[in-house]
């Protein structure tokens, strides 16, 4: 059962579709251009995505309510409290947007906003999401496998890792300063992890375009790793030869490793990872290795000491 509370109205319902899609002309012509700009992203988020197919890779667990997925976020660019991203990302401009894919590839590419939604057919994937802070959710993402994109750019034989970079703009993200991590936020995966069919590029949530606080317009989701690996608001993907730096590892290397696979047997130095709280439940449940995706991904790590490679 979805206990999602429907918003009272959607701008997309009260704005004619052609006006809605030509927002820039609309804004230029508009009288209250500034006011409209300020709300341009509330116009944008919440738009229904069409042609989304269901995926057999979804869990049948009950999805976490929309309100919680959108009001309990770690997105330090907008502040370090869980309520900050929802409160501070309303005016974040996600259009126009470009995402570059470059590095050790045969065909580097730059995608604009429209192109991002057309890289591959959209699927709904309901995934478990486990944060390193011991809470978890079940989230109906909409997106496509990252490997669909990577195949298009044709990685060379030198490409061993994939480096990801988030958008960062001091002016739009004044709360980022002082949160204790470096920006732009960066992440990385080994190429085989990136090519894995479970690894997603996500553009939507609950059948609609991704809300700003959840990483609009496009983000990564790696369901068997702690949430901070799933980098938000992507502007750059680089295929590289060497293991790239990652944001939390730079901030506290003894606490956050490159792999950061969900693993109840390996404690965070300051807390145990044996249990998690499925929000909004009060009681805890046991955490499952690889967040329950071990059947699909454990083979990526055969022979590796996961205690060392945390």
């Amino acid at each position: 059962m979805l206990i999602r509370k429907a918003p009272e109205f959607r701008y997309s319902q009260i704005t004619p579709r052609d006006v809605y899609f030509n927002r820039r002309t609309f804004l230029a012509a508009g009288t209250a251009a500034i006011g409209a700009l300020a709300t341009s992203n509330s116009l944008f988020a919440g738009e229904k995505l069409s042609g989304v197919s269901k995926s057999p890779l979804s869990t049948d667990e009950k999805p976490t309510p929309f309100d919680l997925i959108t009001h309990y976020n770690n997105f330090y660019e907008f502040g370090s409290d869980k309520e900050d991203p929802a409160a501070n990302s309303g005016n974040f401009r996600t259009s126009p947007w470009t995402m570059k894919v470059e590095g050790e590839v045969g065909k580097p590419k730059v995608f604009d906003l429209d192109a991002l939604f057309k890289i591959a057919p959209l699927e709904e994937r309901i995934y478990r999401h486990r944060c390193v802070e011991r809470w978890s959710m079940v989230i109906p993402w909409v997106g496509f496998p990252l490997n669909a994109l990577l195949k298009q750019v044709e990685p060379t034989s030198k490409a061993k890792y994939v480096a990801f970079e988030s958008y960062y703009d001091k002016k739009q993200m004044p709360k980022a300063r002082g949160t204790g991590i470096e920006f732009p936020y960066v992440e990385g995966l080994r190429l085989d992890e990136a090519m894995h069919p479970l690894t997603l590029l996500v553009v939507g949530l609950y059948g609609e375009k991704l809300p700003n606080q959840d990483g609009a317009p496009i983000r990564l989701v790696v369901p068997w790793k702690y949430g901070f690996k799933s980098i938000k608001s992507l502007v750059r993907i680089r295929l590289v030869e060497k293991q790239p730096p990652t944001a939390w590892n730079l901030s506290a290397p003894n606490e956050y490793g490159f792999y950061s696979n969900v693993n109840p047997e390996v404690d965070h130095p300051r807390w145990s990872q044996a249990k998690e709280r499925r929000l909004p439940e009060l009681s805890s449940r046991n955490t499952v290795k690889f967040n329950g995706y071990g059947d699909q991904v454990a083979k990526l790590y055969t022979g590796m000491d996961l205690r060392k490679n945390y």
Partner: protein, 230 residues
């Protein structure tokens, strides 16, 4: 010829304000009001829980709210003496015990939240955390240090111990507050601004104490030295 009215001088205004504040602070009702005010954070927390408005992670919200109020009450308690001296309001001292006990009260709620909702009253697991995780170790230390103070907070205990010994014992509160700040500093992921802010307030309050203590030492030395000069 106009006579100079003393009522227009600043001194007079200060004196009247001090006197008025003194009266308010002596009132039984002010104390009742302060007591109720101290219960507001708990009341709000309970109300939000009842309204299901504690957000996605109610347990975390309860832990954080009670933890925040514990440190606040510790710092407020430690401000009583400096404020009493700076404002020349001896009656402020009447509130100190109550504020200190509220720090202990919120600290106990904070601890109970953790023990109950995080550890499920599993004492073995609790002990493992206390010895293994340094932020829990110092938090526990902060709370344990408050226990003897809460017990000996009554007038009877002041008499039994004698004021000097009682006062010495109650200096433990400095270490409790320090441990509380370190606890917070160690538990945040990366954003240390708030723990540093609390640490700053504590440093200010301790500097004041150190300053007055050194001043009083030197005046005492002068007082002792003075007769010899005669």
């Amino acid at each position: 010829m106009a006579t100079r009215l003393p009522s227009y001088t600043l001194e007079w205004i200060f004196a009247r304000t001090t006197e008025g504040m003194g009266k308010v602070l002596s009132s039984k009702w002010t104390k009742v009001f302060a007591f109720l005010l101290c219960l507001v954070p708990l009341g709000l927390l309970g109300w939000r829980y009842y309204q299901q408005k504690l957000g996605a992670n109610p347990v975390e919200k309860i832990t954080h709210t009670t933890g925040d109020w514990t440190i606040w009450f510790l710092l407020i308690t430690l401000s009583v003496t400096p404020l009493r001296k700076l404002l020349d309001q001896p009656k402020l001292a009447r509130f100190r015990r109550m504020l200190g006990l509220f720090a202990f009260f919120y600290g106990s709620l904070h601890f109970t939240t953790w023990l109950w909702l995080d550890k499920g009253f599993d004492l073995i697991e609790m002990w493992q955390d206390v010895v293994k995780r340094r932020f829990i170790t110092v938090g526990m230390l902060a709370l344990v240090l408050m226990v003897p103070l809460a017990i000996t907070s009554t007038a009877g205990w002041v008499r039994r111990l004698g004021f000097v010994r009682w006062q010495l014992l109650h200096r433990l509160v400095y270490f409790s507050a320090l441990a509380g700040v370190i606890h917070y500093y160690w538990l945040v992921k990366s954003d240390v601004r708030l723990p540093l802010f609390y640490g700053g307030i504590l440093a200010l309050l301790m500097t004041y104490r150190l300053g007055t203590w050194m001043l009083s030492k030197s005046t005492k030395r002068h007082a002792r030295a003075a007769p010899m000069l005669k």
